[in-house]
Amino acid sequence: MNTEITGIIASFLITVLLAIPLGRYIAKVYAGEKTFTDFLSPLERFIYKFCHVDPKKGMGWKEFLKAMLTINLLWLIYAFVLLLFQGHLPLNPDKNPDMPADLTFNTAISFLVNCNLQDYSGETGVTYLTQLFVITFLQFVSAATGIACLVAVFNGLKEKTTKNLGNFWVIFTQTMTRILLPLALIMAILLVFNGTPASFDGKDTITTLQGDTVQVSRGPAAGMIAIKHLGTNGGGWFGANSAHPLENPNYFTNMLEITAQVLIPVALLFAMGIYIRRKKFAYVVFGIMTVGMLCLMLPTVISEIRGNPEITRMGVLQATGAMEGKEVRLGPAASGYWSIMTTIISTGSVNSMHDSSMPVSGLMQMLGMMINSFYGGCGVGFLNYLIYIIIAVFIAGLMIGRTPEFMGHKVEAREVKIAALVTLLSAFVIKGFTALAAYYFVHHANADWAVKPANWLNNPGYHGFSEMLYQFTSTNANNGSGFEGLSDNNPFWNITGGLAMILGRFLPIIGPVAIVGLLAGKKYIPESQGTLKVDSYTFGVMTFAVIIIITALSYFPPLVLGPIAEYLNMH
């Protein structure tokens, strides 16, 4: 068991050690300083010229968001068409069929918004063409979209007063060429040499040692698995995601994949400190996020290592922890650690089946997604945290009786309204849709749909309720993991899930960018004695308290009905 604990400690330390230099590099890239990747600038200049982008031209916050939304709409249409007709297109050695319309709706949105919820299974639901041209493509560009919007926020915070948040096209292109593509290439090659497939061969048929005939799905998976983690996307090549022995062949690849998904979100925090010249602010944010992560991660790892009390009662040895839904080569500690990292970071890839986790772990996983800003997804993590900061600034302002200020700008009614709206929206989407699903389950259990509500749960009782709550928490947080027992490939779940995902993506991006755009346009007020210092630990703790209070008020009731009731019932 000890080597499992050292495994997760090492995974975290390696992440931080890599994130520090990466953060420094990222800050240089966006500041336009010299870096060792400058050999790529001819390629970037060619792209700008070909696309008629003037890289020197800045954008105000409205134009920035318009550009972002336009290209996202285009990607949505593109993905929709390709998935709908994939069965008739080339690169389909396994002869997988076209995607049905409701599933296409869900899948196209899911990958566009960096959620990567998969109501299909990778082996049968998509073709090599759509895996590469839709899924891998969107995994790259959706991560770059999130990061670009965060950089716009950095630009707003950096200057005293400015109307220029940077050029969306330029920031997007640099994110692709300087950060995501080089890192993904390195990671894919490491995966390939550890046994992840990368060739275009279709399924193989094999007669096993015992004489059974089975098939083995393969394909050009390594590249997608690299960006799925680096871009905090999470959608797997295979149905079982990173529990699959070809997607995550050994403990080294497990450390690689868990490090990769945390790397960019943490590096972006360090980059922020350098870029906006407020290092202490970045360290305080990182510290608070780390404390939050530990609060969720430690109980999870402990309960997974202890094993399932119900199985203990049967008298079986659980020396290797709760093994249902887990892989022997990864073990309960690395599975528990991963399940929290993947839920706080909005990756949503899994290396164990969350539906079979202990109730405490399920609770912590859901809390991670409800808060959605302890590190958080590529770019969007800090954007979510910024909303909490604005609310904390507002409350602190009320408490000390001064007009609230954030980094030299007055925070007024409009900004606070946007922040409150974004916060309340999540609670409304998660609880509203879960209530709707539960209503159909109870009152129209035999409704004549593709899957009858009575049959969409894989587990009875409190855990069944958790399956529905988890699904909407995951879609709203753009996480993409699931309590996969839920039969979600049918019109009800595909459509409601698709709506929750799109609401959970764009408003939480537009909100913070708009807030910073508005703030940056205001007159700069120099710091004085009475200024609320947002880079102090006191304010960090204040933000943490705001997060806890908002989360508890919003989600305590449904959590009691799900994982908490299950826990109490079990013990």
Partner: protein, 187 residues
């Protein structure tokens, strides 16, 4: 707005070529140098591939080391776990049935010696491994079925035990397919 659409179209085209054509082709080319050439590494017996090194297989005969129970029957055309919650009464009945079946096939084994992985589904349904304890508990059954000494089998399991990554990180494990190929070679 019109200008944004034009830029969007062209930028999308550029990055489709980079991310969906060049990127996977470069990786596929590099993968040819990797073991298995990027098609997955197979294990041969008498020159014929009997399986993939990393993908588990079903072993349920008494003269082989059993692999873990699987939700997909070890057919790697798909993958997945049971997704049963820890308190689901039907699930707990299934686990009890697997315990009973294991005890019936392994006389002399006590219930509290059975490692949990032998009576639970893995996450992928394709778990290629067992913990060393999960292999060793099966030794008396195999020794009786094959008329081999238990000591030989214990040595075999020890030989095939893979230790934590760089000696420090992660669990020890035994690859069941490799172990069973070696078991066949003992004769």
């Amino acid at each position: 707005m019109k200008k944004h659409i034009l830029v969007s179209l062209k930028l999308t085209a550029v990055f489709i070529i980079i991310c969906s054509v060049i990127y996977p082709l470069v990786i596929a080319a590099v993968a040819r140098l990797a073991p298995g050439g990027g098609r997955g590494q197979t294990l041969p017996v008498n020159g014929k591939a009997v399986g993939y090194a990393n993908v588990g297989q079903k072993f349920d005969r008494d003269n082989y080391f059993w692999s873990r129970p699987s939700a997909v029957g070890y057919n790697a055309a798909g993958s997945g776990g049971s997704n049963k919650g820890p308190t689901n009464p039907d699930y707990l009945k299934d686990v009890q049935a697997r315990i009973d079946s294991f005890l019936a096939h392994n006389p002399g084994v006590r219930k509290d010696q059975i490692p949990a992985e032998l009576v639970t589904y893995s996450g992928s349904g394709l778990d290629p491994d067992l913990s060393p304890a999960g292999a060793k508990i099966q030794i008396p059954r195999i020794a009786a079925a094959r008329h081999i000494s238990e000591q030989t089998l214990r040595d075999l399991v020890d030989q095939h035990t893979e230790h934590p990554f760089v000696g420090m990180f992660g669990p020890s494990k035994v690859n069941v397919l490799q172990l069973n190929i070696a078991l066949d070679n003992l004769k």
